[in-house]
């Protein structure tokens, strides 16, 4: 081209295009769209001070920046009109297993006609970690080195259900064991566990349930094992110190990571939470803590009000899972013992009694099946002698203090983490609704839980008609199952006698396992049923003590079973679509993430 201006223009265009392609595009980090929020005109409960009848809370980049009646919303804030709303610090659930997957029943390869679909089961992370953890000396259940923070699956549905019920923060522990492991305090929103973790480890957790199949197999052995391991840990610590000072002439002490994990508890650097409800369980926990000079926290605490004199320096994580009668009215059944009747009536009064006795306590959900019952039961405690202020403290700052994070959360103060639970109406009113929940300064989409839990096969609840094939022939048995969240209860009736099931587990894949006493030919023995539920059918194998194994098949009336015995207080929150009942049906509204 002879035309100079045109040539230059072309060149410029070419260069520009090249630069535009090659030059690094400065991509801004994906920021949340809005970083600053202001809730105005609301009733605010800072907890560390008097109630602000009408004021504003400003949060920015995950922290509270201002709170007060005269505070105005900054220009860049997204304003939420808080008229009619009450703003509280984010509620804390001081002891849960949220996010820890259920160990699924291992599929029995020899189950005739049973067993699931091939290749359908993934080894659950809990057991996998336990089985393949390197160089472990202790059996599962006696591994204090297990960290909850390593096991939490952030996508678990329960986390969503809990935060939609107003809970912003939870202490999470592994599920089972004697030395259960070390807990983590997490916020219930975030993309990764690293984002959600507030503190880990928080405490060492101890339970008093024997292991199955091996020592210790009884409560007797549980205490001896605890005692021996703590003694061994003390000795290892001493041996390491002696060896470190001067190793010559000494055989090197053998290291054991489980014992090493106990050192902080023995040094009182980390508290030890023991799960105890009855008076004697709490007494045993106190005695064990005294024997080894541990910093004790009691979790559960149903009978704690009876022994407040021994709990002066021992905080209690009080369960709000109040016991209720679950059995139907059957005229010929034995009546409940008076002790059980009293316990059910006393449960809501415990918090008030602890407050009067000046025992430090915070609330925990205690494996409540319905998360919205957490606040509802706290309200019941208020109706039964606990002041509103104390109840709110037990849901917020008390938990923060006991778990060692009161310098960064638990109250609405500038500089603290912006976790807020905002209700329409007072928190403890019967018709209160969760309006907004802020976690780390971001609002959470509220999706209140339905009564049916998600799961591949829907719920196991229903009346199943089983045909159990044994050497004696086919036995007809009626199995009534009731699933509430994670708890599975039920009973059998018919040709194998009647009995209550126990040790029941149901995996998300529909793998079912339970034990139940059966009576054949006048003899009663324990039977273990292992099988799979697919839609409205189940099949599997049964092993009865002292007999040849058998198989069983079962059906229940179609349509996903009756909506039996819903928890008595269904929350007034709106119900979302019920998930599809049977796995075969694809109809329904699917939420794609």
């Amino acid at each position: 081209m002879r035309n100079s201006p045109l040539r230059i223009t072309c060149a410029l265009v070419a260069i520009f295009a090249l630069v535009a392609h090659v030059a690094p595009v400065t991509r801004a980090e994906p920021q949340p769209a809005i970083e600053t929020y202001a809730i105005t005109n609301a009733r605010i409960f800072p907890v560390n001070g008097p109630v602000i009848e009408r004021g504003t809370v400003v949060i920015r980049r995950g922290l509270i920046v201002a709170i007060g009646p005269q505070v105005t919303a900054p220009a860049d804030a997204r304003v939420i009109d808080g008229t009619g709303l009450s703003v509280y610090p984010g509620l804390i659930d001081a002891n849960t297993t949220l996010g820890i997957p259920q160990p699924s029943a291992s599929p029995s390869p020899a189950a005739a006609g049973g067993g699931g679909r091939p290749g359908a089961t993934q080894p659950p992370p809990v057991l996998a970690a336990a089985a393949f953890s390197p160089n472990v000396t202790q059996p599962p259940g006696l591994r204090p080195e297990v960290l909850a923070v390593d096991l939490i699956q952030t996508s678990e549905a329960q986390i969503e259900a809990a935060r939609s019920a107003g809970i912003t923060t939870a202490l999470v522990t592994p599920r089972e064991g004697i030395f259960i492991g070390q807990s983590a305090l997490i916020n219930l929103a975030g993309d990764t566990i690293q984002q959600m973790t507030l503190r880990s480890p928080v405490a060492l957790h101890v339970g008093f349930t024997p292991l199955r199949g091996g020592y210790p197999g009884s409560l007797l052995g549980v205490f001896s094992t605890l005692r021996q391991m703590l003694l061994d840990a003390q000795r290892l610590r001493e041996a390491n110190q002696i060896y470190a000072r001067s190793p010559r002439g000494l055989r090197r002490p053998e290291q054991d990571r489980s014992l090493v994990a106990l050192f902080p508890a023995l040094a009182r650097e980390i508290p030890v939470v023991m799960h105890a409800n009855t008076e004697r369980e709490i007494g045993r926990a106190l005695d064990l803590a005294q024997e080894f000079n541990l910093r004790l926290i009691i979790a559960g605490g149903a009978d704690s009000w009876k022994m407040t004199d021994r709990l002066k320096d021992v905080p209690v994580l009080l369960s709000l899972n109040f016991p209720r009668r679950m059995t139907a009215q059957v005229p010929e059944a034995d009546p409940d013992p008076i002790r059980v009747l009293r316990e059910r009536v006393d449960a809501p009064k415990t918090a008030g009694r602890l407050a009067n006795a000046r025992v430090r306590f915070a609330f925990q959900s205690g494996a409540l099946a319905t998360p919205s019952d957490y606040i509802a039961n706290a309200a019941k405690a208020v109706e039964n002698g606990l002041s509103r202020e104390e109840a709110l403290r037990a849901l917020t700052v008390n938990a923060a203090e006991i778990l060692g994070v009161s310098d960064r959360m638990g109250t609405i103060e500038p500089g603290k983490i912006a976790n807020l639970t905002i209700t329409r109406g007072d928190l403890f009113d019967r018709n209160a609704r969760i309006a907004h929940v802020f976690i780390d300064g971001q609002p959470v989409e509220l999706r209140p839980a339905t009564t049916t839990p998600t799961g591949a096969g829907g719920t196991a609840t229903g009346t199943w008609t089983l045909s159990v094939k044994l050497t004696e022939g086919d036995q007809s048995v009626t199995l009534v199952l009731q699933q509430e969240g994670e708890a599975l209860r039920g009973s059998i009736q018919g040709a194998l006698g009647s009995g209550q099931i126990a040790n029941a587990t149901l995996s998300p894949n529909g793998e079912l396992r339970f034990t139940v006493p059966v009576t054949i030919g006048g003899q009663t023995n324990e039977a273990t049923f292992t099988g799979t539920i697919t839609g409205n059918e189940m099949r599997g194998s049964v092993q009865i003590v002292g007999r040849d194994p058998g198989t069983f098949t079962g059906t229940r009336p179609g349509g996903g079973g009756p909506p039996s015995a819903a928890p008595p207080r269904t929350p007034p929150a709106t119900q979302s679509n019920t998930p599809p009942a049977a796995s075969a049906e694809m109809t329904g509204t699917w939420r794609l993430k």
Binding site: T209, P210, R212, G213, G214, Y215, S218, L219, L220, G221, F223, S224, R227, Q228, L231, D232, E238, A239, I242, Y243, R245, S246, L250, R251, P253, R280, G283, R284, P323, R324, R325, M326, T327, A328, V330, A333, D334, D336, I338, L341, R344, V345, V480, Q482, R489, G490, S491, Q493, S498, G499, Q500, N503, P517, T524, E526, V545, G546, P562, A565, P568
Partner: protein, 482 residues
Amino acid sequence: MRKLIVFVLLLSLYGAAIPAAAQRQSASQQRQAAGAQETLIRNATVLTISHGTLQNTDVLLRNGKIAAVGQNLKASAAARVIDATGKFVMPGIIDCHSHSMLDAVNEGSLSITSMVRTRDVLNPTDVDLYRELAGGTTTLNLLHGSANAIGGLNTVVKIKYGRPMEEFIFPGAPPGIKFALGENPKRSNFQSQTQPRRYPATRMGVEEVIREAFTRARDYKAGWDEYRAAQKRGEKNLIPPRRDLQLEPLVEILEGKRFVHSHCYRADEILMLIGIANEFGFKIRTFQHTLEGYKVAREIAEHGAGASIFADFWGYKIEAYDAIPYNAAILTRFGVNVSLNSDSDERARRLNIEAAKMVRYGDMTEEEALKMITMNPAWQLGIQDRVGSIDVGKDADVVIWTGHPLSVYSRVETTFIDGEIFFDRQQDLARRPDILRERAELERAEPNRPPAQGGASPERPRGRRPAYLDADDIWDRGNDQR
């Protein structure tokens, strides 16, 4: 003259001392009156066990002890007076083999579980305790079950039902441990579905397991003795040996500081354990059940062990086939200290009837029979200085019966432990309408109402065990899931 002055001086000193002493005495008397109850049981037939039967005799209980036994006793004005005319007073029954108030009876996963302690799993709210009080039983020896050749450590308790657990523990009772021989530790009669098949499976295996344990205990003791000797020599830089909770009680047995209560049936295994005891240099305190004890009564007597047996329960398993109801009589004639035990919450309510059977079988005297549930078990547990008879200075563990305790028609009126009433029939009957009223009120409360629809079927009671397993303390209470 000087003597007179000295005398007067001494007298004045004495005179000065008296008011002070009197003051001290009244202060302590005040403390006593304020602290403990004083009870005067009047005009009863007192079965002292140690010095015969006394007619129309009073028993005075004060400060938790038996203060006086005699006729026409005087008590302070504040004392509770019980007219026991026509009634019988006897020491509280001592049950040498019980599994009441235990949240777990057996740690069946291993053959040697000497590290476990019944003290860790006590349940003071067990209602069977109240029923045992109503049967005149006041002291229990809580034993580990018979699932293992060497079981766990025992606890001796007074049945202070309603009190905190710490108050149950019998003060100063020597420590003990449970052994078991024969069919139960070798699992002849059942398969555990929670535990894998376990060694030993034969009687020779049981013997080997016990011998092996004591050999290890001997080595453990030697290791610690060596460490302590090295410390004494002034050696620094020592790492102490590992404390092994399983072997420490066995060392205590070797040192004579822990009683061995061994469950056994057959004559050969009784002799076997005596052999091991002689080999390792310790004494067995009691053989429990010992239904073939009569066959080796001489050897048991020579060893110096006691026997704690059933009156006439037999035939419930092969090793119980040769039992005879004259067992107690024969053993007693050979000089063995014999007690009757219950090994059952149900039988512990009527041990007086078990004693009565011994009068029928073997012509034991009434006194010998009653001794088997009082003085003899007290000796076997090493608490004979405190309980087992009605003697001044012993603990006020006494029971008032409506008739002679060896009669089937007699019932317990009142049970005292340390001078306090823990069961009274009239009080119990008077409280029943209140309890019914409380129950009705509680059942009306909202959390106690059955669910509106559906609801699980009521649970079958778990704690009931079939009668044929009654004597076999291998029963695992509902897999101990509490």
